[in-house]
């Protein structure tokens, strides 16, 4: 890659290649069909081919790859969760992310920034300590810092006590990072396609064929396709797909909005999150401030931006960074998230045999793209759910053994 840059940097004869080869005809049958061409579906396809040699695979995407939440999120990557199960799982993802540009030979602009979860109340300080202890116990770099540390580490932050919720301290997670989210989808797609995986855009799954409780095929707008196994990774539309498969999920589809400001000179290196103020903010490599908050107040299948959101968000952002008052907002958008009651995902087997699920990613699933892809590929290829995914099984609800991560959600919900 670096060689190519030197060789062709100033040459008009750069042999640019198409990212994905021309879309093939849909075959009548595949070993594995993956429904949903977001980061999760594409990563799973990549690891199926790379780690397990399973290459007769089709990824079916109703729109374009990465056009769902993968291309709408605010790209925060971290592993400072609350439960041992969650921390172990997200930690594997952070490690995969750290080597992902190399692995995919594609720059995902992985940028380690450090991540601060501000605490404005005694209760939030307590949760910070709790998380720091669980994190350290599992080898994750995470500690509680006080106002003096914050003054040094985030000089632009408003530490005044003359605000509604003065900052008392924070949970500091140095490995916290951001990445170019589309690049993650493209990188996985490009490499998967090179290994023979078919990626079909504009291909919507409209029905499932199930015989004797086992998946045998999917119906699409381009015809019927038989399959040995299938996985759904459709984020906000998880419930709609599960409905086709004949089971219910503990998932509500709720819009989540975000926005970016016009580009500013770099002043904010770390990622700043405040649960009490329901906001988070980071500065992208382009200089734009990327800002988000909690999910919309009620469920729906819609991606409309609202004034309420931006008003509420800004009221709180300005408590943290009052000098941003005159900065214009450039873009605002929403994605449909698949929210679970315990703020943990739902992964693995379903009541339908050979039909797997990757869902319940809510507002936190971008960071899990590599580990989920890798471990779901393992599940599909071997037919066994790895220990790392076991805690997140769908049946945990029936067993009343939830994995409560609400306390580690980026913002209070």
């Amino acid at each position: 890659m670096a060689f190519g840059l030197i060789k062709y940097g100033l040459s008009p004869r750069y042999p640019g290649k198409r990212f994905l080869s021309r879309q093939p005809e849909l075959k009548s049958s595949y070993d594995v069909v993956i429904i949903g061409g977001g980061g999760h579906g594409l990563a799973c396809a990549y690891y199926l081919a790379k780690n397990h040699g399973v290459k007769n695979v089709a990824v079916l995407e109703k729109g374009y790859i990465g056009g769902g939440n993968t291309g709408r999120n605010t790209a925060i990557i971290r592993s400072n969760y609350l439960t041992p199960e969650g921390v172990a799982f997200y930690d594997e993802s952070v490690r995969l992310f750290q080597g992902l540009s190399e692995d995919l030979d594609f720059n995902i602009l992985y940028s380690e920034r450090g991540h601060f979860t501000l605490a404005h109340t005694d209760a939030a300080m307590r949760t910070s300590r709790w998380r720091a202890e669980v994190n350290k116990h599992l080898g994750v770099n995470s500690e509680v810092v006080d106002r003096e540390d914050l003054k040094r580490l985030v000089p632009s932050l408003n530490l005044s006590e003359d605000v509604r919720y003065p900052i008392m301290g924070a949970l500091y997670h140095p490995p916290g990072a951001i990445a170019r989210h589309d690049a993650v989808a493209w990188g996985y797609a490009g490499r998967a396609a090179e290994m023979g995986i078919e990626i079909h855009q504009g291909t919507e799954v409209t029905g499932l064929e199930i015989e004797d409780g086992r998946i045998t095929g999917v119906v699409t707008n381009r015809g019927r396709v038989a399959c040995g196994k299938a996985m759904q990774a459709v984020a906000g539309l998880s419930g709609v797909m599960a409905n086709m498969a004949g089971f219910k999920l503990p998932i509500k589809t709720v819009p989540l909005q975000a926005c970016v400001s016009m580009p500013l000179k770099p002043f904010l290196d770390p990622i700043i999150v405040s649960g009490s103020l329901h906001v988070y903010i980071s500065q992208s490599s382009r200089g734009e401030l990327v800002m988000g908050g909690s999910t919309d107040p009620y469920p729906r299948y819609q991606t409309r931006s609202t004034l309420d959101f931006i008003e509420g968000l800004m009221a709180h952002i300005l408590e943290l960074f009052p000098f941003l008052a005159d900065v214009p907002i450039l873009r605002q958008w929403a994605g449909m998230t698949d929210m679970t009651p315990d703020f943990s995902p739902v992964m693995g087997e379903t009541p339908v045999k050979n039909y797997y699920i990757d869902s319940g990613w809510g507002t936190w699933g971008f960071k899990a793209t590599p580990v989920c892809g890798k471990r779901m590929a393992e599940t599909i290829a071997t037919g066994r759910v790895p220990a790392l995914l076991q805690p997140f099984r769908l049946s945990r609800f029936e067993e009343y053994s939830l994995v409560g991560e609400k306390g580690a959600a980026s913002v209070g919900h």
Binding site: G239, P250, P297, Y298, P299, R300, T306, F397, E398
Partner: protein, 99 residues
């Protein structure tokens, strides 16, 4: 701002309301299996289309029922729960515990 028509208070800003979840019948807590009860507590129809739900107008703590389209984000009808509940919902006494 979205306006919701509260059966008690009339049209109000959406910020005055909280969403209370799907309107589903509660199974008898003393007689349902673990699976039935967990399904009631956790599982969602999460319908894309017209749904029936509980909503609460917060300043009056008033609960009502709304029919809403989750794709168009439109409220079709809101009404007082007395339209559905004519009398108090009672469950029979729990079966005796222990031996």
């Amino acid at each position: 701002m979205k306006i919701i028509n509260c059966p008690l208070n009339g049209p109000r800003n959406a910020q005055e309301f909280v969403h209370g979840g799907e309107f589903v019948a509660m199974p008898d807590p003393h007689r349902s299996s673990d699976a039935e009860w967990s399904s009631f507590v956790f599982l969602e129809n999460n319908t894309a289309g017209v749904v029936r739900e509980w909503w609460c107008h917060v300043p009056t703590a008033y609960w009502f029922i709304a029919e809403r389209d989750t794709i168009k984000d439109e409220f079709i009808r809101t009404y007082d729960p007395s339209e559905v509940f004519r009398e108090r919902v009672e469950f029979a006494k729990p079966p005796a515990q222990g031996s």
